[in-house]
Amino acid sequence: MKRIIIIFLATVMVTTACEYLEPRPIQDLSTDELLSVADYGEGLLSAAYRNLYPSYDINSEFYTDNAVPSTAGSNILALGGWTLETNPIGDWDLWYTSIEYCNHYLELGKDLLYSVSDPTLNEALQKNRRAEAFFLRAWYHWQLLKTYGGYAAGESEALGIPIVTEILTAEDNLDLPRSSYEDVVAQIVEDLDSAIAVLPLTYSGSSVTDNITNRGRASVMAAMTLKARVYLYAASPAYGPSTQSLWERAAAAAGEAIDASGGLTDLDSYENFNDFSSFDNIWIQPPYSYNNWEYSYYPPSLYGEGSCNPSQNLVDAFPAADGYPVDESSAFNENFPYSNRDPRLERFVFHNGDNYNGTYIRTYEGGADAPGGLSQEGTRTGYYMKKLLSKNVRLTPGDVTSDNKFYAYLTRTELYLNFAEAANEAFGPTDVTYGFSAAEALAKIRERAGIDSDNSTGGYQDQYLDDQALAGEDAFRELVHNERRVELCFEGFRFWDIRRLNKPLNNTVMGVEIVEAAVPVVPDISNIALESEASADYVSPYSRLSYINNGSISTPAFHNWWSAGQWRYVQYDFPSYFKVPGTGNVYIIDSTVVQWWEECPTCGVQYPDSAFLEVWDMDLNEWVEVWNDYDGITEDYCPIILTPAFNTNRIRLHFRDNESCGIREWLVWGIPAEAASFDYEYGDVENHTYQDYMRYVPLPYSQTLIMNNLKQNSGW
C-alpha cells in the first residue's frame, strides 16, 4: 500500500515539475537590463525631469492677497486651516524621490553607452546628461530648501534640509540631520557649477547636443539663473541677517547670468505666454498643445470654471498707464478704473467689460460672469485670471481649440527682477558696477509692459521710475517689490516673496461689486486700438500684424518687407463695445498716432514716401480720406488730429515706399459713443489669519516622527 502511494506521488512529482508554477516573464527590467542600453538607463534621468512641476503654482496665489479661489477649499490655509499634518505646501516625498533618481543616474549611469560608432558623441552625451543630473539634483534640493528652509526650534541659524548626494538603501542610516541653510546653498551651487562647466549655453545651436530638440533640458543659462535665484533667497532677511556681501553675491550672480545671456537686452513681448522660440523663457517644460488651463480659469461666459479670482489688492497694485501708482496718477479715473492703466492689467486680468475674442466679460450684478450668473459661484472678487491663458483657445461647444502651453521654470523677466532687487540692496538703484544698474534692469520690465509717462513723444518714457531711482534705495525697493508682484503674478512667486522678505502674512483681501450706474458717466479718451481687430493687405512672413496694437512700442515692429513701391494698408475694425442695451456701436475718434519703424535709413524697412489715412463713413458706406502726407515721413512719431472728431467703427492707414514700411505701434485715441457705465463698490472678501510661525513651512510631520534628527521649524 505504502509503496503504491509513494509510486503515485513520485509519478505525480516527476510528471509535473516545478516549472509549472513559473510566472510569465514581464516587460519590466532588472537593474542589469536597465543599464545595458543607454536608452533605458537614461530613463532614470528622464524620470527626474518628468517629476518637475507640471504647471504654475496658481494655488499658492490663494494663500496671498493676490487672489482667492472661486470655490472654498484651496485657500483654507490662509484662513487658519493650516495644520501640521495637512500641510498642502511642498512635496517632500516627490523631491527626495527625484533626488534619488538623479543619484541613481549619477552612480549607475556613468558608463551608459550612447553611441558605439561615434566615441566623441558618446562622450559628449555622457558628460552632458551627467551635468543635467547635477543640475536637477540642485533644482530639487532648491525646491526643498525654498519650501522647508528656516529656523528650527532652538536654532539660531537658519536650517536647510538633509542633503542627499548618494544612493540610499533601506539598510542605511536614514535618520539624516538638517544641514544649515548656507550648506545647502553651497551644495546646490556646487552642483550648478558642475553643470555650468559642461552644458551648452542655450539649446539654439545645431549640434546633436545643443539643438532645439533639447529645449526642455538644463542649460548653462538655466543653471546661472537658478544660482542667481538661490543667492537672492539666501540674502533675504528671513534666513538671517541680510548682509552686504550676501546681496553682492546675489547681484553678481544675476549680473553674470545677464551678461552670459547677451547683456541687458529688451524683453520679448508676452504674446500668449507660450512663445517657446523666445529664449527669454530660459528653461521651460517641453510645450504641448492643450486647453486645461483655460477650462479651469476662463470665466463662465467663455465656458471656463473661473476658478482663480484676482483680488482688488492686486488690481490696485497695477500702476496707471503713465507708470505712477493709481493714487498718484492724473491719468487714472476712478469712474473708469480699468482705463488708462498699465497695459499689463488688461493682459493679466479679466475685468468687467473686458472684450476677449469678441465676448464681453460681465461681472456686474446680473451679468453672466457675476456670482449666481451662468455658474452658481461666479467670481468672488469681480475678476478672473487672464495671464497665462491663450487667446487662441476657444472652448465654445463645437468649436474647441487648444494651444501650445508650457510652464517656464526660469525666465529672463525674473532674472532682471532678481538683479534689480539685489543690485539695489547691494549698491543702490543707479550703480553700474555690473555694466548696468538696477534701475535699467527694472526699466526693461516696465518698457515691455507698455508703460509710458509721455504720450506726446515716441519711445518709452518712465518718469516715475526715474524719480524713484533718484529717491534712493528705499524708494526704489518699494517699486521693485511692487513690480515683482505685478509682473510675476499668478506664477507662484508672491507666497515665497512675502515670506523671504518678512512682509506681513496677513491681509484683508478685497473685491469689487459692480452695478449699472444710475447716471451714465462719459469715459475718458483711451487707446481703442488695443481692443480693435487689425487687418492688412500684406504682412511679411518675418513679422506679425499683432505688433501694431499690442500696446508696446518696444516689441518687434510690424513690417511688410518686401513691398517695393506698392501701396499697402493696415486697418482697424472696432468691435461692438460694452454698451447699454439698445444703442449703436460707434466710436468717436479724436486722434491717432502712428509710430513708424525704420530699420535704418538705408535698410529694407524705411519711413514711407507717402501715406494717407481713411475713415469709414457709416452714413455713406464709403471710405473718406482725412489726412495725407505725400512728402515723405521723416520721423517715427506721427500724430494725426481729426477735426472734428469722427464717428466710425473702422479706420485704415495707407502707405508706400520704394523699399518697405514698418510700424512699431499704431494708437487710436477715442471713446465709445454710448458705453455702459457702472458704479463700483469695494469690499472685503477674506481675512487671512496666519500665525507667526507660519512664516516657515513645516517639515512633514510624519518625517519628524520617524527621523529623530529632523528638527521641526519653530512654532509648529
Binding site: M1, A47, T97, L174, F276, G398
Partner: protein, 1008 residues
C-alpha cells in the same frame, strides 16, 4: 459557446425522453406489496406518499399508516416512501416479495451523525469530522426570490455574513464573509462564479469555517470556503418539479431632498453664515415657491419624474431528476427576469437563462463516471453613461442635483447648466444604451475507480473541469441637442446650444473578455475498517490554471499546484484524530522555494457514545471537536509591487519624455521608474487557525446546538514599512518585507428547537457570531501619543475626533480659546475635544473613542405549519457596533453645487441634530463622533406563506406534491437609522446608487 448550449439542450431532452419512455412498460406482470409506515416513536404515519418505481403508480397510507401498492412481479422493483420533513426511504422489492413490513421514516435533522460531510477531496462521515462545518440544503433556500443565492444565505448559517454592495439589476454585488474573512465559493469542487446558481439546483452548501476542513486546498484554503454541491438525482426516485413565481420589487426607502424653495432658502442661509452674499433674491425665492417662471426658476422632484414605484420580477424553473441502479441524472432549466426603476426611456432589463445537466453513470462494477455541465446565458440592457458602456446611474445624479439645478425642457429644448451638466431625460431617452451578454459554462467530469480488487479499501478518483466565462458589452452613445439657458440681466431668456445632437447608428464593443479555468485532480483513497478502528487516507494531487484574455503585459494567469495528504482515524466512534498535510506551491516565490509544507491537526471526542452518557437520556448526541492548522496566504498584494517577482529589483517603463518643442520634438526619451527593490528573504505570509467547539442534540433530538470558538493569528504579513521608514529614500525604493501581525477571534453558534403538536409543527432557530480583532504589529508612524497608535488596538475601531456637541454662542468659542484646524468656527459648528490639550484641534486629536463596527451578527429562522398551511420567517441583524453617517450628499452636506437633504431642515439653530449650514468651512465634515450612530438593526428578511394542496387533490392533478405560495423580502427593518429614510444595512443605497429593494412574489410549485 452557443454550441455548448445547444448540446446541453439536446442532452437534457434525451434525459427527459428516457423518463417518458419507461411509461410504456404497462404490460408487465404485477403483484401487490403491503406495508406500514411508522415514525421513530413507532406511531403510524398517515397520508404518506408511496410510489413504485417501475410502474410509476403511487398511493397514500391510510390512517393506520398502511399501504398497498402494485409493483412488477418478475423483476426487482423499488418503492419510494416520502413525506415532507422526513428523510426519504427507498426500498428494493425482490420478485415474489409481498410485504415490506414496518417501514421507518426518520425526521430530517440538521445534524445527522450518519450523514456524509462533503469536504474537499473526499467526504467524511459527520461523526469523523474534527472541524467546524455548517450545512444548509438548497431546499431551505428556495423561499428567497432573488437573483443570487448568496442573498438567501443571509442569517441562515452561524458565522456567515452576507454584504450587499450594489442593488442595480444585473450589477448586484453580493459578498460572503465567514467569521469576518471573505469566503471562496466552490461549486462541485471548483472555485466558480456563483452568479446564476439557483437554489433549486443546489443539493447542499457546506461552510468550512476552520482549517481542518479546507487544509487540503493548500494556499487556496487559507480563507473560509463555501462548498456547494449540486443535485445528482436519486436512484429509483423519479421527479419532475416545476416552480414559477412572479411579482414586483420596490424601493424599501428613498432619500428625501428639499424642493427648490427650501433649497434656495437654505443655500442663502449657508452663504450668509459664511459671510457671503446670498445669491437667491426674494423675487427668485417667490418664483420657486409659486412656480411663476418654471424655466428660470425650476422645481424638479427627480424621484417623481424618473423613478417608477415598482419593477417586475419573474422567476421559474423546471427540474428533472431520477435514475436507476446504473444512471442518475439531474437537469434543470431556470429563467429569471428583473428590471430597473427607470420610469422612462431605457429601463434596466436583466434576463437569465440557465441549464444544468448532471449525470452519474456506473460504467461497470468498479468504475463510475460523473459529468456536470452547466451553462448560463445572461443578457442585460441598460442606459449607458456618457458614450461608454458603464451603466447610467440616475440615483447618483438625483443626490447631487438640487431641485433648481436647471429646468428639464425649455420649450422642446433640453437644458443643462455649467454646474449641472447632466440632463436625465437626455440620458434615458437619447443617450443610447448598452447591452451585455455573459455566457458562463461550467463543465466537470469525474471518474471513480474502485481498486478494491487490488487492495481492499483502495480507490482512485480523477476529475477534470473546464469553465469559461465570456462577457461582451456593446454600446451605442449619442445625445440630443443640449442647451444652456442664459438669463442675463433683465433681457429675455435664450437657449444657447452647448452640445449638438449626435446620432450614433452603430454599436461599438465596450468590453469583451474571456476567462477560462482548467483544472485536474487525482486522488488515491484508502479506507480500512477493522473492528473499532477505522482509518481513512487521502492523497490528492491538484493543478489548476485560471486565465483571462488580456493584453496587459504584466498579466499573470493564476496557477495552482498542490499535493495533499489526509489521515483520519476513528476509534469506536468515540475518539477521532485527523492530520492534514499540504505541500502547496506558489507562483510568487522564487524557483526552488515555491513549495511549502503546512500541517493541520485535529481531534474530536463523541461523548455521547461513551458509556456514561449513552445511558442518560439528556444528550442524543454530543461531540467536542478541535483543530489547529497553519497555512500560507497566497493571494497577498502590496500596492505598486509585482507580487510574482518580489525577489527582483524592477524598473518599469513609464512612457516617454520629449525634451523638444513643437516642430522639433526630437527623440522620445524613455522614462524608467523603480517599481520595487528586491527583497532578499521574503516568505509567504501565514496564518494560524485554532477552532474548538461542541455540537449536539438533546431532548429527544428536538433541540440541536453548536458552539465554536475560533482564533486566527495572521503573521509575516506583507508590508514595505513605508510609514516607518524615512521617505528621503524615495518612493518605490523600498523592498517588500514580512511585517505585520494581527489576531481575530470570536465565537459562533446556533440553537434550534423543533417539534410538533397534532397538526401544528414548528421549528425555531437562532444563530449568532461575535467577533473581535486586534492589530499586534502594524506599519505605522511612531506617534508619540499612545492614543494614536494602532498596534494593540482593535481592528474595527473608528478613528475620530470626539465631538462635544455644537458651539452655541460666540462667547463659548472665545472663552474656550481652542483653535480648530479648519478655519474660524461659529456658533452651530461642531466642537471637538482637544485630546492633547495643546489649544489646537488637529490630526493629533484623532483617536479611537470607542466606536467600532458591529461585532454581533445574528439570524433568526422560524418555520410553522398547521395542516397544509406553512409560514416561514427569516430575519437577521447586527448589534454591538456603530456606523458613521458619512455621505456628504445627505448627512454632511456642505459644499456648493450640492443638493440638500430634508434632514437639513433640522440644522442648527433649529435643532442640535445637524451643524449650521456652510459652503466653505470643512469643520463639520470631519469624521467625528458627532456622526456616529448605533448600527444595530433587525430585518425581517424573508417571509413565505404557503399552502400545500392535500395529497389527494394533488394526485387528481397527476401531481405528487403541489404548493402555492406568496413570498416577500426586506419586509421590515427595526433600526434607529430608519428615521433618516435610509436602509440600515446599506445607508448609501438610493443615494449614490440603486436603492435596496423590497420584493413581493406569488407563485406555484409542483412536482410529478
Amino acid at each position: 459557446m452557443n454550441k455548448i448550449l445547444k448540446h446541453l439542450l439536446i442532452f437534457i431532452a434525451l434525459l427527459t425522453i428516457q423518463g417518458i419512455m419507461t411509461l410504456n412498460a404497462q404490460d408487465v406482470q404485477t403483484t401487490t406489496v403491503t406495508g406500514q409506515v411508522v415514525d421513530e416513536s413507532g406511531n403510524p404515519l398517515a397520508g404518506v406518499t408511496v410510489k413504485s418505481f417501475n410502474l410509476k403508480n403511487s398511493v397514500l397510507t391510510n390512517s393506520n399508516g398502511e399501504f398497498s401498492i402494485d409493483v412488477t412481479a418478475t423483476q426487482e422493483d423499488h418503492v419510494v416512501i416520502s413525506e415532507p420533513g422526513y428523510n426519504l426511504n427507498i426500498l428494493a422489492i425482490e420478485p415474489g416479495q409481498s410485504t415490506t413490513g414496518e417501514v421507518l421514516l426518520v425526521k430530517t435533522r440538521l445534524i445527522d451523525p450518519e450523514d456524509k460531510i462533503s469536504l474537499p477531496y473526499g467526504s467524511l462521515s459527520s461523526l469523523s469530522t474534527v472541524g467546524a462545518v455548517s450545512i444548509i440544503t438548497g431546499e431551505e433556500l428556495e423561499s428567497y426570490p432573488s437573483d443570487n443565492i448568496l442573498e438567501a444565505l443571509a442569517g441562515r448559517v452561524p458565522g456567515l455574513v452576507i454584504n450587499h454592495y450594489d442593488y442595480m439589476p444585473g450589477q448586484e454585488s453580493v459578498v460572503a464573509s465567514v467569521r469576518g474573512v471573505g469566503a471562496a465559493i466552490y461549486i462541485d469542487g471548483v472555485p466558480r462564479d456563483i452568479t446564476g446558481l439557483s437554489a433549486s439546483e443546489v443539493e447542499r452548501i457546506e461552510v468550512l469555517k476552520d482549517m481542518s476542513g479546507r487544509a487540503l486546498l493548500g494556499l487556496s484554503g487559507a480563507g473560509p470556503v463555501i462548498w456547494i454541491t449540486t443535485k445528482k438525482g436519486e436512484s429509483f426516485n423519479r421527479k419532475v418539479s416545476v416552480s414559477f413565481e412572479t411579482g414586483f420589487r420596490n424601493p424599501v426607502t428613498l432619500p428625501d431632498y428639499l424642493d427648490a424653495y427650501n433649497y434656495a432658502t437654505l443655500y442663502n442661509e449657508a452663504l450668509e453664515n459664511d459671510g457671503l452674499d446670498p445669491i437667491y433674491s426674494q423675487q427668485a425665492l417667490n418664483a420657486y415657491q409659486n412656480q411663476s417662471n418654471p424655466y428660470r426658476y425650476p422645481d424638479i422632484d427627480y424621484y417623481d419624474e424618473y423613478v417608477r414605484n415598482t419593477a417586475p420580477l419573474t422567476k421559474g424553473n423546471i427540474d428533472f431528476q431520477g435514475g436507476d441502479d446504473r444512471v442518475n441524472y439531474f437537469s434543470t432549466f431556470t429563467y429569471l427576469r428583473n428590471e430597473g426603476l427607470e420610469s422612462q426611456g431605457e429601463v434596466i432589463k436583466n434576463n437569465r437563462y440557465k441549464v444544468r445537466g448532471n449525470v452519474d453513470i456506473r460504467l461497470n462494477d468498479f468504475m463510475r463516471l460523473g459529468v456536470n455541465i452547466s451553462g448560463s446565458y445572461n443578457t442585460q440592457r441598460y442606459p449607458n453613461s456618457g458614450s461608454g458602456s458603464g451603466v447610467f446611474n440616475m440615483f447618483d445624479v438625483f443626490s447631487r442635483y438640487p431641485a433648481n439645478a436647471h429646468t428639464i425642457y425649455y420649450g422642446d429644448k433640453l437644458i443643462i447648466s455649467d454646474d449641472y451638466p447632466t440632463n436625465v431625460t437626455n440620458e434615458l431617452l437619447y443617450a443610447g444604451f448598452a447591452q451585455g451578454q455573459v455566457l458562463n459554462a461550467q463543465n466537470t467530469a469525474n471518474l471513480s475507480i474502485d481498486l478494491g480488487g487490488i487492495i481492499e479499501g483502495l480507490s482512485f478518483d480523477a476529475r477534470a473541469s473546464f469553465d469559461i466565462i465570456n462577457s461582451i458589452i456593446e454600446n451605442k452613445g449619442g445625445t440630443a441637442a443640449l442647451y444652456r439657458l442664459e438669463t442675463s440681466g433683465t433681457g429675455a431668456d435664450t437657449a444657447v446650444l452647448i452640445v449638438p445632437e449626435e446620432n450614433v447608428v452603430s454599436m461599438s464593443v465596450g468590453s469583451n473578455y474571456v476567462t477560462r479555468r482548467t483544472e485536474a485532480m487525482t486522488s488515491l483513497n484508502y479506507q480500512k475498517i477493522s473492528g473499532q478502528h477505522s482509518l481513512l487516507l487521502n492523497a490528492v494531487f491538484y493543478m489548476a490554471l485560471d486565465e483571462t484574455r488580456v493584453t496587459y503585459p504584466g498579466y499573470q494567469p493564476d496557477k495552482l499546484e498542490d499535493l495533499s495528504l489526509r489521515a483520519n482515524y476513528n476509534f469506536a466512534d468515540r475518539y477521532i484524530l485527523q492530520a492534514d498535510l499540504s505541500y502547496t506551491g506558489s507562483m510568487r516565490m522564487p524557483e526552488g522555494e515555491r513549495f511549502s509544507l503546512f500541517p493541520t491537526v485535529g481531534a474530536a471526542w463523541i461523548a455521547s457514545n461513551e458509556g456514561f452518557l449513552s445511558e442518560s437520556n439528556l444528550f442524543d448526541y454530543l461531540k467536542f471537536h478541535s483543530s489547529f492548522g497553519i497555512m500560507g496566504v497566497g493571494n497577498y498584494s502590496l500596492e505598486g509591487y509585482n507580487p510574482y517577482y518580489l525577489y527582483e529589483t524592477l524598473w518599469g517603463s513609464e512612457g516617454t519624455w520629449r525634451p523638444g518643442v513643437p516642430g522639433s520634438y526630437g527623440y522620445s526619451a524613455n522614462i524608467y521608474t523603480i517599481l520595487q527593490n528586491e527583497s532578499t528573504d521574503f516568505k509567504l505570509p501565514k496564518k494560524r487557525y485554532f477552532n474548538i467547539g461542541v455540537e449536539g442534540q438533546m431532548l429527544g433530538k428536538a433541540l440541536i446546538f453548536e458552539l465554536n470558538y475560533f482564533n486566527e493569528f495572521n503573521y509575516d504579513k506583507i508590508s514595505n514599512r513605508a510609514y516607518s521608514t524615512p521617505s528621503i529614500i524615495g518612493t518605490g525604493f523600498l523592498p517588500a518585507a514580512n511585517y505585520g501581525e494581527d489576531v481575530r477571534w470570536g465565537i459562533d453558534g446556533m440553537v434550534k428547537l423543533s417539534g410538533s403538536s397534532g397538526h401544528f409543527k414548528y421549528s425555531a432557530g437562532i444563530n449568532a457570531l461575535y467577533m473581535r480583532g486586534k492589530y499586534l504589529v502594524v506599519d505605522e508612524l511612531p506617534y508619540p501619543d499612545d492614543y494614536r497608535q494602532r498596534a494593540g488596538k482593535d481592528i474595527d475601531l473608528f478613528w475620530l475626533y470626539n465631538d462635544e456637541g455644537l458651539y452655541q454662542t460666540e462667547q463659548e468659542i472665545t472663552s474656550r480659546n481652542v483653535t480648530q484646524a479648519w478655519g474660524d468656527v461659529q456658533p452651530g459648528d461642531i466642537r471637538y475635544e482637544d485630546k492633547n490639550d495643546d489649544g489646537l484641534v488637529d490630526e493629533r486629536d484623532v483617536y479611537a473613542p470607542g466606536a467600532h463596527s458591529p461585532r454581533i451578527f445574528y439570524g433568526v429562522n422560524v418555520s410553522l405549519s398547521y395542516k397544509s398551511l406553512g409560514l416561514f420567517i427569516s430575519g437577521y441583524g447586527q448589534a454591538d457596533g456603530d456606523i458613521m453617517l458619512s455621505s456628504d450628499r445627505y448627512f454632511r452636506v456642505n459644499s456648493t453645487n450640492q443638493a440638500y437633504s430634508e434632514l437639513m431642515l433640522d440644522r442648527w439653530p433649529e435643532t442640535n441634530d445637524y451643524p449650521r449650514l456652510t459652503t466653505t468651512s470643512p469643520n463639520n465634515v470631519q469624521n467625528s463622533t458627532f456622526w456616529i450612530r448605533n448600527a444595530a438593526y433587525f430585518k425581517i428578511r424573508n417571509v413565505e406563506l404557503s399552502y400545500r394542496l392535500p395529497a389527494t387533490a394533488s394526485r387528481k392533478l397527476f401531481m405528487t406534491d403541489s404548493r402555492i405560495f406568496v413570498r416577500g423580502t426586506n419586509l421590515l427593518a427595526i433600526s434607529g437609522l430608519n428615521k433618516y429614510s435610509v436602509d440600515p444595512e446599506n445607508i448609501d443605497a438610493g443615494i449614490t446608487g440603486y436603492p435596496v429593494f423590497r420584493t413581493f412574489t406569488a407563485g406555484v410549485s409542483f412536482s410529478f
